[in-house]
Symmetry: C2
Subunit: 248 residues, 2 copies
DNA sequence: GTCAGGCGTTCGCATACGCGAACGCAATTC
DNA sequence: GAATTGCGTTCGCGTATGCGAACGCCTGAC
């Protein structure tokens, strides 16, 4: 069905282009007749899903779209259950904690509780990062066979920082290590200066969700790392219990 | 344009019905032919905007919708600027702080930073509450004339708790007090046991955004309240400066 | 001052889409 | 076990919708 597909396509284009888009910009991106776009945008504006700056006729995502997107988080029982557990974990560690889900070759952040130190970060909720560049993603990939991972990942792995592992064989070594230890880690592979530990939530085969804790390198030491990994593991296990007993 | 309207209508219905909906449930809610819904849902599923549980054929909002909704927050310069300021405020007070925007007769929560005490709360982002039941909403209504407020509010005000002010005249008294003091407050009018203070972000006429700080009644005392109100006012003023100087 | 290029907007025609009715399948009911 | 009810699914017809071309407007170039 073309019209629904296109509606969504327009919304996604607007959401990608941060600040907003003009009609012509959209038409170039989507290769859709201007007239069709025009009518479509007008109806989306009329129901508050798109907002338009009348001076510049620039379109951006509207307030009404916000509700629907976040309903995904509300409707997901695992996310609901993980909220309080992760808040607790953040308070115990005073480090930033996340819950993320694998979607194709990316991880999507579903929960984010920031440490009190790290005030600059804007919440990562709904943001995507390539799975191979995050601890959250690596532990989820590590739960999968070599062939499954190959099918998931793109042929060329994006290098977000100098430290990002983009070599498939090297990645495999990391994943093997993660399988042994039961957790994955990563240092500056998506954000320079930040180290991150992650544990997969069991219950599904293979796991689709993982919890993580990230901190600046300056706060890292063996004792703190052990505490963090212990906290993450216990948290993931509790969630895994819930997944199994409730059939999520 | 019917198809776009209906697409959005389906998404909103799914987002309202928390856990998900069957085809027939949707058809009863929306009064739309089953066959049309069926086709529409299939395309939405194929692009990941709706997920379907094949055992029960229950439809729910999909992961792809999440991105688009939260793009509203990313694209809004005020929200971006308020993030770090509110995080700072939360750390100073160790109380839960919010940024909200007036939309019709509701306020929509755009930022939420929880205190370390209050672990149970799930994030209020994107949630709506009737403006008259919140400090955030009262201060925004107080910036408007009697007639404007009348046009905005429904004829019967919803009573969420025993303490909710639902009498128009009584509400007007509260708003007059808020105008004098420069902030609004509310005790248990949307959540029993919770007290909340709010200040409007200046720069627009009338203001559309406000910042708030809520805490359990047990932690309230004059000194703490004064500190909170001072922090909120300073935060709102800083944001107002930004709005004015950048023309947001 | 004129022209060109880019923009948002309008309009009539061909087409893809929404509709209702009918179907097949389970799970209940008696 | 026959009948009923509720569900998801299919299909052909009439119509709402998407399309390209043309329009009017502005801005900047020369």
């Amino acid at each position: 069905m073309k019209s629904a597909y296109r509606t969504v396509e327009v919304l996604e284009a607007l959401s990608r282009s941060g600040g907003g888009c003009s009609l012509s910009e959209l038409q170039r991106q989507l290769r859709v007749p201007k007239s069709s776009l025009h009518e479509l945008l007008q109806t989306l504006v009329s129901i508050g899903w798109v907002e338009v700056d009348l001076r510049t006729t620039t379109y951006r995502i509207g307030l009404r779209a916000l509700r629907v997107g976040t309903a995904y988080l509300d409707s997901d029982p695992l996310v609901r259950a993980a909220g309080p557990l992760l808040a607790q974990l953040r308070n115990e560690m005073d480090e930033t904690v996340h819950l993320a889900r694998l979607d194709g070759s990316d991880v999507v952040y579903l929960i984010s509780h920031e440490s009190s130190h790290h005030v600059r970060v804007i919440s990562r909720i709904a943001r995507r990062l390539p799975a191979h560049s995050t601890a959250l993603g690596k532990i989820l990939l590590a739960m999968r066979s070599y062939d499954e991972v190959t099918a998931l990942l793109p042929s060329r792995l994006e290098k977000l920082t100098p430290a990002t592992v983009v070599d498939r064989a090297e990645l495999e070594v990391e994943m093997e290590k993660a399988r042994e230890l039961g957790y994955s880690s990563e240092t500056g592979q998506n954000t320079p200066g930040l180290v991150c530990f992650a544990v997969a939530v069991p219950g599904h085969h293979p796991s689709t969700d993982s919890v993580s804790c990230s901190m600046p390198l300056t706060r890292l030491n063996d004792e703190h790392a052990a505490r963090v990994i212990g906290g993450l593991t216990s948290c993931a296990d509790q969630l895994g219990q819930l997944v199994r007993s409730n059939g999520w």
